[in-house]
Symmetry: C2
Subunit: 930 residues, 2 copies
């Protein structure tokens, strides 16, 4: 650095600081030192007992790459210099024959990245130092074992000799010795193993294993740098959109050992319980052991609380360190530690992963403890973590204890777990369900005819269809767990049997399914109920104070609406009236209406529907108590309410043949009736029903339906209002593409609403808005806004049309492949495609509000419950998002985070941080401890 004033081309490289002792860095230097290095530095700075070491910077890696695979000049000099300091601190010498200093070499990028070289332990061992280690530890077997591991790791990651080759050598020795465990291989035998390892290296590389510790170190550093550019890392970064220019750091740290006797040990711990969030040290340790012993699974680790009994002082020290780290990092920490001959060393620390329940509890309690503020608490929970809390879950303890394994796996179609007795028909499901029996409805696939049974089932299982199949959509709508498209299940509906993996289940047998991960289990597994606890409630309350987006719900019946209001919904953003039509008692009337040949019959059917629809709306208004209720006029094509065409065609073909042979009069009558129905269905068939006669087009061609619905809405509203309950209906016109469509229907709705309100002498505001789901509507928003009291983005259809993709057809046919092959960055039906659909939305909001200042805009597509989409909606300046009841808390949290993170109505969309992967049970995590 001193030479900086006179440096020339290339001088920078030479003069640059490539190596930082731990005590030279800190937490803020993640980019330069990597995550691991920065945390080690921070702990050093905190004077925690971290084994001494240093970090080679990411810049050195970048320079290595730039130089085409050459270590920057001066680097190894700086390494030597740093090593001298480490030697001083540890009071051992690297490469010394007496009590030698050994080191670990680990990669450590700024973002954690699988596929990179991981760890080399015990580096520095050779024929001489090995003896020194044996002497110093007074444990030759330990020394040979350490050497064996070192040769293998070095051979594997530096010399590119497959680990299995080494393992084979070891197992041959064990075979020869007639032992099963590594620990049973004695000192002498272990020495032979080492010799064979070295022979293997010689054979494979043509050169001997490097004996010079410095050479070892240099080669290990290069290996880490190379692994930054290996195929796997490159692919991973490309997929995760991590820049190739970041580089990785290398951490070189003095080795300490937990297996030097009964006053040594090793373990891993969290400063709070990562499963429940409880504020207590949580973890496991083993005395006289090292990480691999735990992996071998021979000995069972002890809970960390046992350490207190073993050594109160050590426990206190460790606990104090944990508390200190929490205060320092203001979060729950995950620590790896080693006790070497009674002395505690912290090898590594990082922010700990946690379950959703734990995340919520920790966040709230840390606010109470003054560790973080409320905004930080809101940021601490990822919206996706809430989902677990809101549905029944399989009890992980019970599953572990009993060693339960899933029978088969289908598509996770509606979250939550369910246990029940198998039934094969909707009727059985309804009958038993109403009688209080928990049932799982199992079907090839479901149809509108099954809805009454689905409603009474605890869970739904189908062999066909995906996340958008009828079963999935209805199940999500009703919050019923569902596994769909479980194709390896053979369902024999006639015989009332399921065959799977050679097992047979009959009607009435118990079955458990988990709609969150698509797994199916035979028998009963205990469930954990939803945890909408106090912590959850408090966090939600803070979210509500912060967020600017209103959160509504998509609900078609009082049950869902009630659930959503409990979850904090501020209104209904989408009530799909057709779902009311599909119910068992209504479907026949709907069909009557559709098939009526005479106008009076059609009217009679409409009148019947009007009265049931009015009841539906009354219930909704009662539940919502004055919150807005956005009711969408009938949307789907009418043929959706009729039997399926292929089914009818088959029936008629069969009946015709039978009739030709048998000529029965009754048969003839059935044939005639079926034929008539077939012709009706045939005449209504559409080649692309999504783009056919539906939505507002239906209302324009069959005004009777919208008239009926409007009357039902406002009569219901008046009736409820007169009971003293405030009401706030909003009528929403679907599928508008041209302003004139809306203009005509709006006028008609207002006319009829005024009539109804007039009759009932009520005072209810009439609001008529429109879905923005046809691209043209967005493109002509300035015109449409003039006829709309509000816009509600129907991003499902908007995405389908703007992308030209029919979700039902595409998901399996190419969309999945597109996402896998990264042709699309994400499935646009899961998260709003901001570049395309988002652009159209921005266009519509901007121009809509230019034409009608203050125009209320919301979203009611499935995206309304997806965090990244919610962030976009916030940035876009929408007034509300609407989502299914179980997504309401998710949306409240996501909206709050968006409000904290991004500007509103600004220029480009802010990206939400990526979700943290789910924490695994502590049990399996402990295996990684060294």
């Amino acid at each position: 650095m001193r030479r900086a004033t006179i440096r020339q081309e290339g001088d920078e490289t030479m003069s640059k600081k490539w190596v930082y002792l731990f005590e030279e860095g800190d937490q803020s230097m993640r980019q330069l030192l990597g995550g691991k290095g920065a945390n080690l530095a921070e702990m050093s700075k905190m004077d925690l007992p971290v084994p001494a070491g240093f970090t080679i910077t990411t810049e050195a890696c970048i320079e290595y790459t730039r130089l085409g695979g050459k270590l920057p000049e001066g680097l190894m000099d700086q390494v030597r210099e740093a090593m001298t300091k480490v030697e001083g601190q540890m009071n051992r010498s690297f490469g010394a024959v007496v009590d030698p200093l050994l080191v670990s070499v680990r990669s450590g990028a700024a973002v954690s990245m699988p596929g990179m070289m991981d760890t080399i332990l015990n580096l520095g061992l050779n024929r001489q130092t090995l003896l020194g280690l044996a002497d110093a530890t007074n444990n030759p077997r330990f020394a040979y074992d350490a050497n064996r591991r070192f040769i293998m790791m070095f051979g594997d990651v530096v010399l590119d000799i497959a680990k299995t080759r080494f393992e084979k050598v070891l197992s041959e020795h064990k075979k020869r010795l007639g032992v099963k465990l590594d620990t049973q291989v004695g000192s002498a035998a272990m020495q032979e193993v080492c010799n064979d390892y070295l022979a293997l290296v010689l054979k494979e590389t043509g050169a001997g294993f490097p004996g010079d510790p410095w050479k070892q170190l240099e080669m290990a550093i290069e290996a880490v740098f190379k692994s930054w550019n290996n195929e796997r890392a490159f692919t991973y970064r490309k997929r995760e959109r991590i820049s190739d220019d970041l580089g990785t750091a290398v951490n070189v740290q003095a080795m300490v050992y937990g297996n030097l006797g009964n006053d040594s040990g090793t373990g891993v711990a969290f400063t709070r319980d990562p499963a429940t969030g409880e504020h207590k040290l949580y973890g496991e340790y083993l005395m006289n052991a090292q990480g691999e012993d735990v992996v071998a699974g021979v000995r069972t680790p002890h809970p960390i609380s046992d350490l207190r009994a073993q050594s109160a002082a050590l426990y206190e020290e460790f606990d104090a360190i944990g508390r200190g780290l929490e205060r320092h990092f203001r979060d729950m920490m995950d620590l790896e530690f080693t006790i070497e001959r009674g002395r505690l060393w912290i090898l590594q620390c990082r922010v700990g992963k946690r379950t959703g329940a734990a995340a919520v509890r920790m966040a709230v309690e840390m606010v109470d403890e003054g560790l973080i503020d409320r905004n930080e608490a809101i940021r601490r929970v990822h919206p996706s973590q809430l989902d677990q809390l809101l549905h029944p879950r399989l009890d992980p303890q019970a599953m572990h204890d009993e060693g339960v394994r899933p029978l088969v796996t289908g598509i996770a179609a509606s979250p939550g777990a369910a246990v029940g007795k198998i039934v094969f028909s909707a009727d059985d499901a309804e009958r038993l369900g109403k009688a209080g029996e928990p049932v799982i409805l199992v079907r090839e696939e479901t149809s509108p005819d099954d809805v009454h049974g689905m409603l009474e089932a605890k869970g739904i299982l189908t062999a066909r269809g995906g996340k958008t199949s009828h079963a999935a959509v209805v199940a999500r709508g009703f919050g019923i767990p569902c596994v769909a498209g479980c194709e390896s299940l053979e369902i024999d509906e006639e015989a009332q049997e399921i065959h799977a993996r050679g097992e047979t289940f009959k009607a009435g047998d118990w079955m458990t399914l988990d709609g969150s991960d698509g797994r199916i289990y035979g028998g009963q597994i205990p469930l954990i109920p939803p945890e909408v606890t106090g912590w959850f409630g408090r966090l939600m309350g803070w979210c509500d104070e912060v967020r600017e987006l209103e959160v509504r719900t998509n609900a078609d019946n009082a049950r869902d609406a009630r659930q959503a209001v409990e979850f904090g919904a501020q209104g209904i953003g989408l009530c799909r009236t057709e779902h009311m039509f599909f119910e068992t008692d209504r479907l026949p009337i709907v069909r009557e209406m559709i098939l009526a040949e005479a106008e009076d019959k059609r009217l009679a059917a409409l009148n019947k529907l009007q009265s049931v629809q009015q009841d539906d709306f009354e219930e909704l208004f009662e539940v919502l108590e004055g919150r807005p209720v956005t009711i969408r006029l009938l949307d789907p094509p009418l043929h959706e309410f009729l039997p399926s065409y292929p089914e009818l065609l088959q029936q008629v073909t069969e009946l015709k043949l039978a009739n030709n042979v048998l000529q029965g009069r009754a048969l003839g009558a059935v044939l005639a009736e079926r034929e008539k129905l077939l012709h009706a269905v045939e005449s209504m068939r559409e080649s692309n029903p999504m783009l056919g006669l539906r939505g507002v087009r239906l209302s324009l061609m069959f005004p009777g339906i919208v008239e009926m619905q409007t009357r039902a809405i406002y009569r219901a509203a008046c009736k409820v209002a007169r009971r003293g309950v405030p009401v706030n209906p909003e009528v929403m016109v679907p599928l508008v593409g041209h302003v004139n469509e809306l203009k005509i229907i709006r006028a008609r709705v207002i006319e009829i609403a005024e009539e109804a309100i007039g009759e009932q002498r009520c005072d209810i505001a009439i609001r008529v808005g429109t879905m923005i789901e046809v691209p043209r509507a967005a493109l002509t928003a300035h015109e449409i806004a003039q006829e709309a009291d509000f816009f509600s983005f129907g991003t499902n259809d908007l995405t389908q049309m703007t992308f030209g993709v029919s979700r039902d057809d595409a998901e399996g046919a190419f969309l999945q492949a597109y996402v896998e092959r990264k042709i699309l960055p994400a499935n646009p039906f899961e998260s709003i495609d901001i570049a395309g659909i988002g652009r159209l939305m921005r266009f519509a909001v901007t121009e809509g509000r230019q034409a009608r200042p203050g125009l209320k805009c919301g979203i009611c597509g499935e995206h309304g419950g997806e965090p990244a989409s919610i962030a976009f909606c916030h940035e876009l300046g929408l007034n509300y998002v609407s989502c299914s009841p179980f997504r309401v808390p998710v949306a409240r949290l996501a909206a709050a985070q968006a409000a904290l993170d991004g500007p509103r109505g600004g220029a480009s969309a802010a990206a939400l941080p990526k979700p943290e992967p789910q924490a695994k049970p502590a049990r399996s995590r402990a295996k990684k401890a060294s």
Copy 2:
């Protein structure tokens, strides 16, 4: 006007000039005087012998409406003043007992408008003036007849007594007299008729017929004003988007009579032949007659050329007037004239309507004559008029002579007329057609299996399907006349019979159809061949000099391509490779490829296809001789190449039942094969195929197809190039929605193309572009442009997706109703929806060219041949339009007109003038002459 300096509120009304003598106005005053009034004024100004008169302005009408149905103050004073001048000029007095002046009163808005009050003749007659007229003409019967007509017309339009009431009175008299014709009713009897008419008026109105000529005039003027606001006019204006604020003028003109003896006469004439365009007076006249005599059809009018023999002086005078008017108006004029006692009067003139052929010839000859310049000639022909010229037409003369009437009418699906023998199967059509027999292929509806027969038919007739049915699309593609959806036709394909209107046609019977108007005729009607004459060629040449848009064609085979090149196409803008797949000899190979279970079988099928595709492309390149050939990679979903699902389902259902009963081994095998096929088709079914697995998605999922096609294209190109013929292939990727789709396929195409070119050692430019037909592609044009050598707007699909409308499903279900009810201003599949789709296109062009300056942009949807859409494309700054071969001349003309009329790349779209309605044969037009 003098009082203008001191006028106050309301003064303007009083001081305003409401009435213009003919000589006070001119041609430029259409808004104020209406079309008729302005032309009468202009003729007066030219000193032509126009009966004197005056025009009451449209402003008077507006004021009348504003005042709630009161004539503006001062208006009648001005009328009286003007009448005095007319009296002076005609040397007769209005209301005088001796030789009274009678007038006609006619409405005349700036735009012609049906539903408005038309004409009252002979106004001014009453008990006294009647006698004066009888005296002056020395013809009492003439006077009574004139009076009878006046009472009826006045009664009808002013007093609102239905015309039929009057006609009934007259026919009762004729019955009484035992005569058939009006002319047989003598003077005395006619007097009685008049009396009975007056009695009818008294009875109906409760008041007598107004005797005062001034009262009559005032009432007539008011009636014209009222008719501006009647229901019919109002509706008409709303539909035609004519402002209600324009008002109508009233023309009051002195009566002259053509039925005062053999030196009198009346007629109508065009300054050139409106059917052929030949430069000679063309028209008809009758001596001693008035318009109504021609209507009665008793006497046959003489051709205008006969007038020369009758009176050379009159003919010369008339001819001179005609020539003068042409010079003055610089266009072919349509004149109404009357000869009163040897004196020629011109009653009315207007620009004459004409056929397409006449329009072209006149335009070109007028340039030669120096009457107009070339740009004006281009403007004179409406693109829609060209269509007639390019297809065989039914000979109107022959149809008239033989009194041919259409049997039934279907949907005009592909223009042109055809005569042939009926066949009921594609195989028959192919067999007979190839043997040189002209055949009409008659089918319920057609399918891909029929294409080989359709190709050999002179015309195609189907009972089902509309303008976008398979039959229609294929027929238009091949330029074969087609009438589709002729539902009143009962086709019995088994019995090989057609039943229509009680008639039966068998296979082999002659039939004639006109695909331009959808009419079907039994028997043979002579055809007129296309008239691509010298005038046409010259006009097209001028267009080519002016236009800035390149015109390409959509052609899938050499035949079409050749036709299009003859019509002036500058390249192929869209070659749909799937049409090649549908041909009889290829379909089985395509099916083989799709259904192949093993990869080697699929490859074998692909190889077979590659060789036939290569042949196709060679032919195209040969024909195009270096003009660009844009080849679209396979687009439709693969299931389109397989048999229909319902058909297979029926087959399998029947076979199953049969097999259950019969258990035949052969039957079992057939069943198994069909079932396998059914399952294949079933697995490929899509609920919305338009938005499913097609276009680039196919290429990504089944790369073998695009590889095969690319190889075929570039091998063909090399082969042709080596023969010394220049080639210019462009590969177009359909249905791109995300840039990554294009990126991958483009790279693959380039790779294979380079391979093929390298093998053949050729030098051919590789260009890969994309359709812009998915809304998202337009919205992300800046990204997509980076991977595209060109954009081609596929406005069919772009419209379908942006509107969310499946054309096939919508046309009958609601789109037609939408257009009729004016919910949409026009069918967006016929003319580009500028507000919506156009906006998206502008977006794409602008951003595409920002990303890639000079990006070539074209359009290849059906809109590419529609004049208003072409004007929009010009304004948008596209490089080319592409349309079906027969639309190429239309596009050349429309592009030239757009270049003359509108700026390029500017702000808003220029609207083309509305097409003139087609001229009717002169025969029927003459009936309107008075």
